[in-house]
């Protein structure tokens, strides 16, 4: 594929297309399949469009500069002008469109998920406004559930099943794959393959309500061994704490609102309203990519999530400072 993201031309077209977000992950700079093929198409069409635009504007400019004097005498088109129209207005666009269509068809063919078993199968459930991510195991009890942070092995093919919990969303990791809508009642799938390790940002690409803009996730591509290690770590059950402060937090979690909405395997908490928290402390962000996962941010989120992300499902939970400290201490043990 063409890699010319540093060129000025590239920057200009990027701005035109994405309405200006230099620094954000770009689908024009892919790091894996099927985004690479799609980027080739994107670049190809962009270049063609730019060339044609320059050509048309060049001719227009030429026409302006060479304009004739005002003349009311009716004229018949000369042979020369008919050639211009036939070639420039019919033949050239037809050729260009056929070529672009062919290119597009080929790309559609190529980006289809290859046959055969994927290396990793993931279910992604889009909620307002966060992403639930499930890894199905050989038996159901080996399933791993996490949120807003999808780990994948580098070079591994990842099959993604997309499920909508409420309204229409769209799953988009610009550097790895094109958008795929997530529609209630509709079984959509997509696939990913990262060719280099790294963290790739994903986001919801279909307006889904007030906090649509804060519905991000990240794809962490890591070497297969590290991925396997992560997966087995996620399968472990949260231990009942022994430290008295942690234990107080554990009990707070179980008898307060927390457990009604969140799951922690090991704490007998089976809430399904919000994200599973069994390994919360292992995640990089909270609130669907909105805030780094720090103790301070978590504290603010627990006490008044509504002021941070108005309308989110997490209610404001005023609680005594000591109680919250214990809760934070417990949550920090969930690695």
């Amino acid at each position: 594929m063409t890699q010319m993201s540093t060129t000025r031309l590239g920057t200009v077209s990027l701005l035109l297309i994405s309405l200006g977000c230099a620094g954000a992950p770009s689908f024009m700079a892919p790091h894996g399949a099927p985004a690479d093929t799609e980027a080739s198409l994107g670049w190809g069409v962009t270049i063609v469009a730019i060339v044609i635009t320059l050509l048309v504007f060049g001719l227009l400019l030429l026409g302006l500069l060479r304009r004739r004097d005002y003349d009311t005498t009716p004229k018949h088109a000369s042979n020369r002008s008919i050639v211009w129209i036939m070639v420039g207005g019919v033949l050239l666009p037809a050729v260009v469109l056929v070529v672009v269509t062919g290119f597009t068809m080929r790309t559609l063919h190529v980006v289809a998920e290859p046959a055969g078993n994927a290396d990793v199968r993931v279910q992604v459930i889009a909620h307002r406004w966060w992403w639930e991510i499930k890894y199905l195991g050989a038996t159901p009890d080996l399933m791993v559930v996490t949120a807003n942070e999808m780990h994948i092995p580098v070079h591994g093919r990842v099959h993604v099943e997309l499920i909508a919990a409420d309204v229409i969303h769209s799953f988009w990791v610009p550097q790895l794959a094109g958008k795929m809508d997530v529609i209630p009642g509709q079984h959509n799938t997509t696939w990913l393959r990262a060719d280099s390790a790294g963290i790739y940002r994903g986001e919801c690409a279909e307006f889904c309500g007030a906090q649509h803009a804060h519905m991000d996730f990240m794809v962490v591509a890591e070497p297969p061994a590290a991925f396997a290690n992560w997966l087995s770590g996620q399968r472990t059950v949260a231990a009942v704490p022994t430290d008295s402060l942690d234990l107080a937090g554990y009990n707070t979690f179980r008898v307060s609102a927390c457990a009604a909405c969140h799951t922690i395997r090991g704490a007998d908490a089976f809430g399904k309203v919000g994200p599973e928290l069994t390994h919360l402390a292992s995640r990089r962000t909270i609130a669907a990519g909105m805030l780094p996962n720090t103790r301070g941010n978590l504290a603010a989120w627990i006490v008044n999530a509504q002021s941070i992300k108005p309308g989110v499902g997490m209610p404001a939970l005023p609680m005594a400072a000591a109680q919250e400290q214990a809760l934070l201490a417990y949550l920090s043990t969930l690695r």
Binding site: L15, S18, L19, G20, C21, A22, G23, A24, S170, K179, D181, E203, A205, E206, F207, A210, H212, A213, H214, V255, S256, A257, A260, C261, V273, Q306, P310, G311, G313, P315, A316, L317, P318
Partner: protein, 184 residues
Amino acid sequence: MSSLSDQIKPAVFRGMRPSLPGALSTLIVALFLVSCDRDSSRTRSKELPDVATLQRIPMGPVPGLAVSTIKREIPNPYSANVGATADGQRLYVRMNCVYCHGWDGGGGMGPNLRDSVWRFGGTDADIFNSIYEGRPKGMPAWGALLPPDEIWKLAAYVRTLSSGGPPEFSPMKNMTQNDPDEHH
């Protein structure tokens, strides 16, 4: 199917320099959101009533001659707030209320909430207290689980149920209207 807002999102929400079309789109979307916000549950009419005050409201009559000084009429700060009622409806499903009181509030394992009968009083404060404190035949005390703000939203939704149309039928609904332990 990227929508308008998809395209403007990066510019608007990520602190990048917006382009002109982006800014215009943003304006339109912002106006839209602002108009929606009139119903938002985040706007309640007044401060939340003090829970300790609510808890002093007796369930039955007050004995003796002294006229009760306790104000029973504490209005729901979310009454008639459409956004809060919608939040309350979501809670009604997510906190499993729906499986006892019915998807339409017509009752089942628990009492019918659509009729005009309130076993433990039908004022806003009574409804709040029934949810907050629980009731003797299996209604859990949600005060231990939900913050008062959420209980008021739930109460606002419950209030709307009683003015609804006829419920879908449940044989349990009728049976829950009599007390099996009134035998004693």
